[in-house]
Each structure stands twice: as structure tokens, then as C-alpha cells.
Amino acid sequence: MLFADPLFGLPSWVDAIIRVVIVVMVMTIVVVYLTVGERWVVARFQQRLGPRKTGPGGILQGFADALKLVTKEDIRPTNADRWVFELAPYATFIPVLMTLMVLPFAKDWGVRNLALGLFYVFAILGLNIVGIMMAGLGSGNKYALLGGVRAAAQMISYEIPLVISLLCVVMITGADMGGGVGTLNLNVIAALQEDRPYIVLQPLAFLIFFTAMLSELHRAPFDIPVAESEIVGGYFVEYSGIRWSMFQLTEYASMWGFSVFGSVVFLGGWAWPFGVDAHWTVQLGTTLVKSLAFIIAIMWMRVTVPRLRIDQLMNFSWKVLLELSFVQLIVNGFILLYGWPQELLALTSGIGAVVLIALIIRHSTAKASKGLVGTYRTLGSTPQ
């Protein structure tokens, strides 16, 4: 069925190599445009113009940046652990690249269609942290050390809610396939959402996934490992030139990978709303638009919200997200076990999502201090 036929009837391994090369090339171009795109988006939010000079409208800025980074001197600190330091960027990048190999971009477009695709993605992405720890420990820099340790702590905390929120979806696929335990095949998960995306049934799981995803990507408000104003870039503070750009490549490639992954699992991937039989260009376009929506949301978060503190981050994961994701899992189990209607899934999860949002903004003075009148209300007496 899906991905069944090798391209042009070539042998399977030749077909695999061609597909890998295509994905890597597309990834590179996507990353180049994400870097410059982020600058445009951020500039828009900050009432500036952003890069406009390189090429018409600044479209070549990404390539100019890449060229500059490649030609820069590659500096290694004298007290760095040589091999650990030099191999860390690759150890970070390769897992992300391997993740992209199972993502279905359209019905027939992807490198390999694994039966355990979803499991594979998390098994491989977990290795990412090894490279980050290597960079943190091998740089011989205290900021880098702090960044690496922070990244490890954060990754371990958020992996659990992330995986459980995805399991919630996997449970529902079982019901959609007419009984059974569901599927971990990403292509099948996408195809099952032909009528409605799973975000409708599982808004809470989606919120948990999105939050944990931000944390895994070290994006605001969870950019604690790379906090510029505290530890000046964290684990990659000592890197320069091509090795530093490897970290940037990793960051943006994983952002894109996660966005495609999230749109496959929650937003219906290539299947919704045009159906599994739509032309492949339509399906590719659907995936692209959905992943772009994710990416813009991530950038929006970055320019708007400040950074959490490490203990607040941990509390949020272990005391809020983990509990809610387990509750979601158990409720889903009951509903699916007794074969109750799927509207109930949407209802319970919707209530959970409201609870989560209420928990997030429970201390907020947003209402109290909107406008400067509110600012005064939070103050003490104002004697004349």
C-alpha cells in the first residue's frame, strides 16, 4: 500500500538513497528559509523590517548567512575535550535527520513507512540529548555546562508527558480501525484522520504535546538551556563557524520535523481535509501549510513570552502536565473500552484543556492590570 512501489521500479536500496537525498536537500532549503523566515516574522512582531537587502526582498539572506558561517574560523578552546567537542554537533544533528526519514509528507512521499514510526521517532529523538550533553561537558565552559545540564533535566521531564499525550491518540486509532490496539504507523494515523483531525477529539493531548514540543525544541518560554540573557547561548556558547551552524541546523530541522510530526498526529497530516485520494501535490501542500502554522505559532511564542525559571519548568511538567496526560489516558481508556461515542472523547478532553489553560493563567494579573488603571490597582496607597 503506502510507499509500496520503489521509484521508477528501481531496486529498493537505490530508491531509499534517492529518497534520503531528496529529503536532505529539502531539509536544507527549508532550514535556510526558516532562519530567514524567523527573522522576518520576528521583525514583523517587533515593528521592524527585517532583512530586506540581500536579493529581491531579502530572499537570499539565508544563503548569505550560511556562506558567512561556513567561511568563519572554527575555534576550539584550549581546555575543551577535543573529540567530544568536535563530534557533539554531529551527535546532535544525526538523530534529527534520522527522524525525518519516517515522516510522511504525502501519501506516497516519505523515505520509509515504518510500522512503528511513532515509536521510532521518540526512540531516536531521545538520543539528541547525548550530543547536547557532549557539547555542554566538552566545551570546558561553565555556561555550556549549565546549559547542557539544564537541557538534560528538561528533556527527561518533558519526554514523559509528550509520549503519553501521543499514546492517547494511538488508543483512538485502535477504535478507528475497528478494534484492536491501534497503530504506530504514522502514515496510517494520518489516513485515519480523513474525516476529522485528532485535535478535535483530543484538544488536551494536543496542548500537552505542543507545550512539551516547545520544551524539547528549547524554544521560548522553555528556552532555559540556551537562555541568552543568563547563560549566553548555553551549550553552544563556545562553538563558532560551521560547528555552530550545525547546531542551528539541528534546531531548525528539529523544529520543522516536530511540526510535520505534530501535524500528522494531531492535524490530520496529508489526509485532512482533502482526503486520502487527493493529488499528491495537494497533499504535500497540506502538510506544508500545517507545519508552517506550527512554526509560526512557535515563533510567535518566542517573541511574546518571557522565559520560565528552571524550577517552575520542572513543576509545570511533573505537577501539571504529567497528571493531566495520565488522566486523559485513563479517561480515553474507559470511553474506548465501553465503546461510548467519540463525542465523549472530545467533551472530556475539551474540559481537560480548559482546566489546563485555567491552571496556566491562575495567577495572572492579566485581567487586573490590563491598562494602566489596573497597574494602579496593583499598587499600594498613592499619597498626594
Partner: protein, 380 residues
């Protein structure tokens, strides 16, 4: 091959951790200039903090003692370089008090207007930099920039320079306002208010910002007085101590304005007090514009070279960061014998260690930011 002794037990010593020192600054995005602090951290917790200053020392006081009274103006702009006019105000007041020079009425009004504009400038810079410290990726910085650029344009118009206007003179001002300036300042006030409201929406109403700042490093009134804090750091503890009210100078006794005070003295209160203060400044400027008389802006009786016989005085003003005091002493001639600056940033910074110890590294950064230091003033 390592042989473990039979009786070897795991003891608490095996889990001992070592404190680590982190050098923050002088080139660090969060130190707002060339300030350096060495943090001793136990994991993420700060157990000790050693501030180092002096990287921007230019010998302001000695320079002033070696220059003519009017020549020194430019040096004083560069103390609190985010609000040059407020420093000029204190210096000019000291010289005028020393030589008993009269200042025309109109000049006083223009001075107060300019000082309040500088206060807004400085507070905007605080909101921007503080937002960046808390981690809003420069958005708050750029928000601050929009209004600051507009105010700087107005400064440039009257004096020819943006950051270091050197607009005040002992005995008045360099020149009168340009044509139509007052009306345009009214327009500027609208723009500033819009900018302050934008900040209020971006930061004050933000859940994460509130979570980070509320209840962090609270300072009691007694502590604040003991440590010599002044300005917003002192008022955030609930003490309505503002020299513009306590000991009114210039024309502040004719203007109506409130002194915003906080409740707990935490970081959030310091922020919110400054927000309200900037709003009050717009009211002061409006009143200045309403009441401003016509007339001269520079005392015409002053000689070409100012000579002051002898005497000494201490002038204190409410600078943008706190009590900005100038001690001046003359022993004849065209130069002061001694000049001394009591800079609020320096005194506020001296409490850093007490505030920072026992907090997270991330909090240490924003505690430093909340003191709103400017290194030109700390290092003089």
C-alpha cells in the same frame, strides 16, 4: 584493577558537590554595560556574589574640578547616560546654589519638562532591558526603542544632540524652545502613553512575567533604608519618599502628581512603580506646558566666566534611578574646588549581594536588572 575494601560503605561524603564560580560580565548581555559579578553557585543556586565595578571610571569629579563651571556640563550628561538632562539639572542646581544665580521662570519650566521626559526615557529603557532579562527575546527592547527615538528627536531639536544634550546652563538654558515645540510635545505625550500601554499589555499582563517577578527578593522598608536604597527600589517597599515631594526643588511644588508606591518591595513592585511613575511624568509635562510663562531662558546678568567666591552646598534631586545628589565646594576662581556625586545606582548596587544570595542564577540576573543600574553613574 581497583579492589574495593570490604568495609567500604557509601557515605555522605561520596555525594559532596563542589561550588562553582561563574563570571558574569563585563561582557555579558545581562549586565547592562561593563559591570562584572562573580557568582558562586551550588548547582543553580547562588551562594555568593561578588560585584566588581570601575570598568567605566572616567574620573568625573576630578574632571569637573579641573574645568570651568560651564565646560563641565558635558561630563555630567555622561553619568546617567540614559537620562542626560536629569544629571545636568542636578549639576546646574549645585552651581546656581553655590553662586546664588537666579534662574528665569520659563527656564525652570522647560527644565522640569525635559527632566521628566528624561525620566520617561530612562524608565522605558528599564522596561525594555528588564523584559529582555526576563527573556522576551528583544521584543520589549524594540518596543522601548520606538518611544525613545521620538523623545530623542525632540532633544535633538532643542540642543543638537540626542543622548548628551548639554542643554542646561548654570543660570538657565542654552536657548529657547523652537517654534511650535509645545504643541508637538503634547502630541509626543500621546505617543508615550500609547507606548506605556503597549508595555503594560506586553509585560504586566503576562502570566510568565508575573510568575517570575512576583514575590521574588522582597525588601522590607527597614532593609531598604539600611541599605541606602532610593528611587523606585525604595518606593516599592511602600515608603512614599520622593525628593520632588519631600524636599521640593525647582517648580515641583507647583505641580500636582502622585508618588506611586508598592506594597511588598519585590521585583514586580519595582517594575510596576516605575510604570506608574512614567505615567505620572506625562502628567507633570502636561502641567508644565499649561503653566509655562513667556520670557527669557537664560539669566542675562551672569558674567561671561562664572566665578564663585567660596562656599559649599549639597543639592539633591530625584534622579531617574533615585536620589541624585551633588556636593559642591568652591574656593574662588572659575573652577569648583571639590565636586562629589552621590549616585543612586552605586548605592542601590551595593545591596546586590544581599538580594541575590539564595536565589537561582536566572533570578540573580533579573534582580540585577530590577535595580536599574546605569554604569556611567556607578563608575562615575
Amino acid at each position: 584493577m581497583t579492589v574495593w575494601p570490604e568495609e567500604r560503605l557509601v557515605t555522605a561524603d561520596d555525594f559532596n558537590t563542589v561550588d562553582m564560580t561563574i563570571n558574569v560580565g563585563p561582557q555579558h548581555p545581562a549586565t547592562h554595560g561593563v559591570f562584572r559579578m562573580v557568582l558562586t553557585v551550588d548547582g543553580e543556586m547562588v551562594v555568593d556574589c561578588e560585584p566588581y565595578i570601575g570598568y567605566l571610571h572616567r574620573g568625573l569629579e576630578k574632571l569637573t574640578e579641573n574645568h570651568d563651571y560651564r565646560q563641565s556640563m558635558g561630563w555630567w550628561d555622561r553619568t546617567d547616560y540614559l537620562a542626560g538632562m536629569a544629571c545636568e539639572m542636578a549639576y546646574c542646581m549645585a552651581v546656581e546654589k553655590l553662586g546664588q544665580f537666579e534662574v528665569p521662570e520659563r527656564a525652570e519650566y522647560i527644565r522640569v519638562m525635559m527632566v521628566e521626559l528624561s525620566r520617561i526615557l530612562s524608565h522605558l529603557m528599564f522596561f525594555g532591558a528588564f523584559g529582555a532579562d526576563v527573556g522576551s527575546f528583544g521584543t520589549s527592547f524594540i518596543y522601548a526603542w520606538r518611544e525613545r527615538e521620538r523623545i530623542y528627536d525632540f532633544f535633538e531639536e532643542v540642543s543638537g544632540d540626542r543622548m548628551f544634550p548639554t542643554y542646561f546652563r548654570p543660570g538657565g538654558l542654552q536657548m529657547d524652545l523652537p517654534e511650535n515645540y509645545e504643541d508637538r510635545v503634547r502630541w509626543l505625550l500621546g505617543s508615550i502613553r500609547q507606548g506605556l500601554e503597549d508595555f503594560d499589555g506586553l509585560l504586566t499582563g503576562n502570566e510568565i512575567f508575573v510568575e517570575r517577578c512576583r514575590g521574588l527578593s522582597p525588601v522590607t522598608q527597614e532593609q531598604a533604608i539600611d541599605w541606602g536604597l532610593s528611587g523606585a527600589c525604595l518606593r516599592s517597599t511602600g515608603l512614599p519618599y520622593d525628593i520632588r515631594k519631600v524636599e521640593p526643588y525647582s517648580i515641583y511644588d507647583r505641580l500636582k502628581f502622585d508618588i506611586p508606591v508598592g506594597k511588598t518591595g519585590d521585583i514586580f513592585d519595582r517594575f510596576i512603580v516605575r510604570m506608574a511613575e512614567a505615567w505620572q511624568s506625562t502628567k507633570i509635562i502636561e502641567q508644565c506646558l499649561d503653566q509655562m510663562p513667556k520670557g527669557l531662558v537664560l539669566n542675562p546678568d551672569l558674567p561671561k566666566t562664572l566665578r564663585i567666591e567660596s562656599g559649599e552646598c549639597y543639592v539633591r534631586t530625584e534622579g531617574t534611578k533615585g536620589e541624585y545628589g551633588v556636593y559642591a565646594m568652591a574656593k574662588g576662581g572659575n573652577k569648583p574646588y571639590r565636586m562629589k556625586l552621590r549616585s543612586p545606582s552605586f548605592c542601590n548596587l551595593s545591596a546586590l549581594k544581599q538580594m541575590v544570595v539564595g536565589h537561582y542564577v536566572a533570578d540573580a540576573i533579573i534582580i540585577l536588572g530590577s535595580l536599574d543600574i546605569v554604569l556611567g553613574e556607578v563608575d562615575k
